[in-house]
């Protein structure tokens, strides 16, 4: 039985001045799956996630949540159950680990529930539990990425959007980060859309993948079929027509 489509971006176009960052892009995410967005620099991968959160100006197209059209306004998107972990971790270095998590749980009004969620995500990330009161600026890059992931889970999202989670991390740490992403997907049934340059790692955990080039989707298939095809070679070597 096919899973229900949770989130769809239909025919989305984004322009920065005269530059087309996205040109009629269609992307969908089903319940409980991991979808990878891949492509060379400037392909528009991160712009897809930014457009969804109102951080990139959408000129055309629409966003559907289940089958309802939604506006790309962060507060409303989060209320629907979508969370975004931006590129470069962007933890608040002068705040403690716990305070960062509190910031992530902004829409949780009940203080007891907020505490419960902090404890819950800390159980998932033992390293954060150990460093609960440490300023996040003192954490290593890998620990900061774990904190960014944990912070993204504070709203108990149905969909998690990850922008380059392996950026600037050592290979050993990258492996840990991807293992944790897979664990989140399996244990919490969170659907994940992930923009990533580390092709091998992301295709290892993804169910499906989209390949973007020059603001357009040039291929979409299961992760296995993408791995077996030569589409990535073509795109990254600039051989696409």
């Amino acid at each position: 039985m096919k899973n229900e489509i949770l989130l769809q971006l239909k025919n989305i176009s984004v322009h920065y001045g005269g530059v087309k960052a996205l040109d009629g892009v269609d992307v969908a995410l089903d319940e409980g799956e991991i979808v990878a967005l891949m492509g060379p620099n400037g392909a528009g991968k991160s712009t897809v996630l930014k457009a969804l959160f109102g951080l990139a100006p959408i000129q055309a197209g629409k966003i559907l949540w289940h089958e309802d059209s939604i506006e790309p306004i962060p507060h409303e998107i989060i209320q629907k159950g979508i969370a975004f972990v931006p590129q470069g971790r962007r933890v608040f270095t002068h705040l403690t680990v716990e305070e960062n998590l509190e910031i992530g749980g902004f829409i949780v009004q009940d203080k007891k529930e907020l505490k419960r969620r902090i404890n819950e995500v800390m159980e998932m990330f033992p390293v954060l539990k150990q460093k609960r009161n440490a300023k996040s600026g003192t954490l290593s890059g890998g620990q900061q990425q774990m904190l960014a992931l944990a912070r993204g889970l504070m709203t108990d999202p149905k969909v998690l959007l990850l922008d380059e989670p392996s950026l600037g991390l050592a290979p050993k740490i990258v492996k840990e980060v991807f293992a944790k992403i897979k664990e989140i997907n399996q244990n919490r049934k969170t659907a994940i859309m992930i923009v990533e340059h580390n092709i091998k790692s992301v295709l290892n955990i993804a169910d499906r993948a989209y390949v973007l080039d020059k603001g357009k989707v040039v291929a979409q298939n299961t992760a296995k079929n993408i791995t077996d095809s030569n589409i990535l070679e073509k795109v990254f070597m600039g051989k696409m027509k």
Partner: protein, 292 residues
């Protein structure tokens, strides 16, 4: 003794100004150079109301706070369109505008002539009358306000609201991703800070018993900014320390023994030099946790 009491009163007033500006610059990362405008609004509100109406000092202070907060709300709305250096420049522009109003709206402010004869506060509490006409009692009054504003500020920065301010300072775009309307937070702290600066203005006007526009010129905003950069951004104790140093430093330099015809200028030079050295070797100030 009177001299020390005088310094103590100025220290308390500048502590209020430093602490209030630190909420905006140190904790929220908005480089505002317009604090003297709100200081002046509070001072003029008290001066005008005390000399031209029958209302008391504390009522005039409250009205001054309301006025400063209302004006700062409008200024803050405009400033929210700017970031970083442009924010500083635009805020500086507002200080110049407010100064020009003090200078040119002569029917209300008497322009460069200023407003003399501002009375000291009296307080009637049940059947007891308190007068703050002596400098010592006025010192107690300013210290009470400084402590109150310090405690309110401490409560703000340690609250979840304060955490959001720090997060805005670090990465405004990142915090918007979690659903925060950063405009609301930036505006709120700007308005609160302006209200606090207005309290300092009321205290200043009643203490000096005279106000004129020169006390609220741009250099006054720079002076208040220097207090918090020197003492330490995003640290309330830093603002207190900064106020103490900046009030005492010119007094100490009086005793260095410069020739009388150039003493004033030399004091300015030494004072500037100390600031440059501090910025070179201690850019976070003495107690700061953040640098611009």
């Amino acid at each position: 003794m009177e001299y020390l009491i005088h310094l103590g009163i100025l220290f308390a007033i500048y502590t209020i100004l430093g602490v209030s500006l630190n909420l905006v610059v140190g904790y929220t990362g908005l480089l505002s150079v317009t604090q003297a405008a709100f200081y002046g609004i509070g001072a003029y509100a008290t001066a005008i109301l005390l000399t031209q109406t029958g209302i008391g000092f504390f009522t005039s202070m409250i009205l001054g706070v309301i006025l400063a907060m209302s004006i700062s709300f409008l200024i803050g709305l405009v400033l929210s369109r700017f970031r970083d250096d442009y924010y500083a420049l635009a805020s500086l522009g507002f200080n110049v505008i407010v100064f020009s109003i003090f200078l040119n709206w002569q029917d209300l402010t008497r322009g460069p002539l200023g407003i003399p004869g501002i009375s000291k506060p009296d307080l009637r509490f049940f059947n007891y009358d308190f007068s703050f006409s002596s400098n010592f009692s006025y010192l107690i009054l300013t210290i009470i306000f400084a402590v109150l504003i310090y405690l309110v500020s401490k409560f703000i920065v340690n609250s979840s609201f304060g955490r959001v301010l720090k997060a805005i300072r670090e990465d405004e775009k990142a915090i918007q991703v979690f659903g925060y309307n950063t405009l609301y937070y930036k505006l709120a702290i700007f308005v609160i800070s302006a209200g606090m600066a207005s309290v300092a203005g009321s205290l200043f006007a009643s203490y000096i018993t005279f106000v004129d526009p020169s006390s609220f010129y741009l250099m006054e905003s720079v002076f208040i900014l220097t207090i918090i950069i020197l003492g330490g951004l995003a640290n309330l104790r830093g603002a207190v320390l900064g106020a103490l140093i900046m009030i005492l430093l010119p007094e100490i330099l009086r005793f260095v023994g410069f020739p009388s015809d150039i003493a004033a200028q030399m004091r300015q030079v030494v004072y500037g030099l100390i600031l440059i050295l501090l910025m070179l070797y201690r850019p976070k100030g003495f107690l700061g946790e953040y640098e611009i």
